[in-house]
Symmetry: C2
Subunit: 197 residues, 2 copies
């Protein structure tokens, strides 16, 4: 017991330098789902190779033009923040970019993610206002290397579709799975929370 | 189509001034679930009265000592960030306070939230490392004033318990419901995302 009150009143999540540089320099337009996904997987791979976090990458695009709006990688370890998943980072940065908490009010935006969303990111997607989610590796691929993806509704794609959000699965799945396996083989941290075990 | 790349590389979520002041000054120790919940509900009420966001408040405590570790309120509108729910803010600030992304490795922590977690916050709880979640109003109470809480597993408390997280429901539920209703009556924004409707 102590009389010390909470001192933390601000959350700051910063992209690692390599990704900041990449984001600021990237000028390509990504016309197809495959091009968008290859970019998201490349972010995941770089995040592993640069040792800046878990093997997950994501990006938000203008669905029609293919313009890159934001990027995200897993920053849980580096930022000491369990909500800093790739999808969350990409969504939050996209909302900053458009200056509004609801991307759906600003246009038609697509989230590409190198692995299907965990329960948290799945829950975040309807709030975000994205209209399409494109996924590569399956949730079970993340589970296979030890991540507890949480309890998702059995028909999670249907739950998104009910809310007007299109879901496209298994785009370049093998490439994304290769990144997960590379991470596991290299001894990357599987950071499920401690539960007093 | 444009050649403009993403310029946003940092996410900053800041407590509103009233809450920052409150957090820095608070020195009480909260011994019971009711004391902790009354505080979380008071944050929700203040957030409505100060017009700084939605009618939701949360706080993280050391489970044994009752020391307040962090606070959170809904900051979605003010921060242009759909993930800025009260629970997410409180969890992220608690992790900053202990300097680690897994509260479960740092001690035994309890999350008190004025309304049961939406699908996103529910998914965030296992990753956070909290060991106990105490809730006041039900998810259906938030739905009753128009918030889409998302698709939660039917047995969401069981899913948390499976992961070693205790759930206590309906602590001061009437007081929390009163804040939800006060918000709805005062014309507070119900900010479900636009879906091109």
């Amino acid at each position: 017991m102590t009389d010390r009150g909470p001192r933390n009143t601000e959350i700051v999540l910063t992209l690692p330098p390599w990704l900041r540089a990449l984001a600021l320099q990237e000028r390509r337009v990504f016309q197809s789902a495959e091009f968008r996904m290859r970019f998201a997987i490349e972010l995941a791979r770089q995040n592993v190779e640069q040792h800046t976090g878990g093997p997950f990458g994501a990006a938000v695009f203008e669905a029609d033009s293919g313009r890159l709006v934001s990027v995200g990688v897993n920053l849980v370890e580096a930022s000491n923040c369990s909500m800093a998943h790739a999808e969350m980072i990409a969504i939050a940065l996209a909302q900053q970019a458009v200056g509004y908490y609801d991307l759906g009010a600003a246009g038609v935006y697509e989230l590409a993610t190198s692995t299907e969303p965990c329960a948290m990111c799945l829950g975040a997607i309807p709030w975000s206002g994205v209209r399409r989610v494109v996924c590569a590796a399956h949730g079970k691929d993340a589970a296979a290397i030890g991540f507890d993806e949480g309890a998702k509704p059995a028909d999670w794609t249907g739950e998104l579709q009910k809310r007007g959000i299109e879901v496209v699965r298994d785009v370049l799945g093998d490439e994304a799975r290769a990144v997960l396996q590379q991470y596991a083989k290299s001894g990357g941290l599987i950071y499920n929370p401690g539960r007093g075990s």
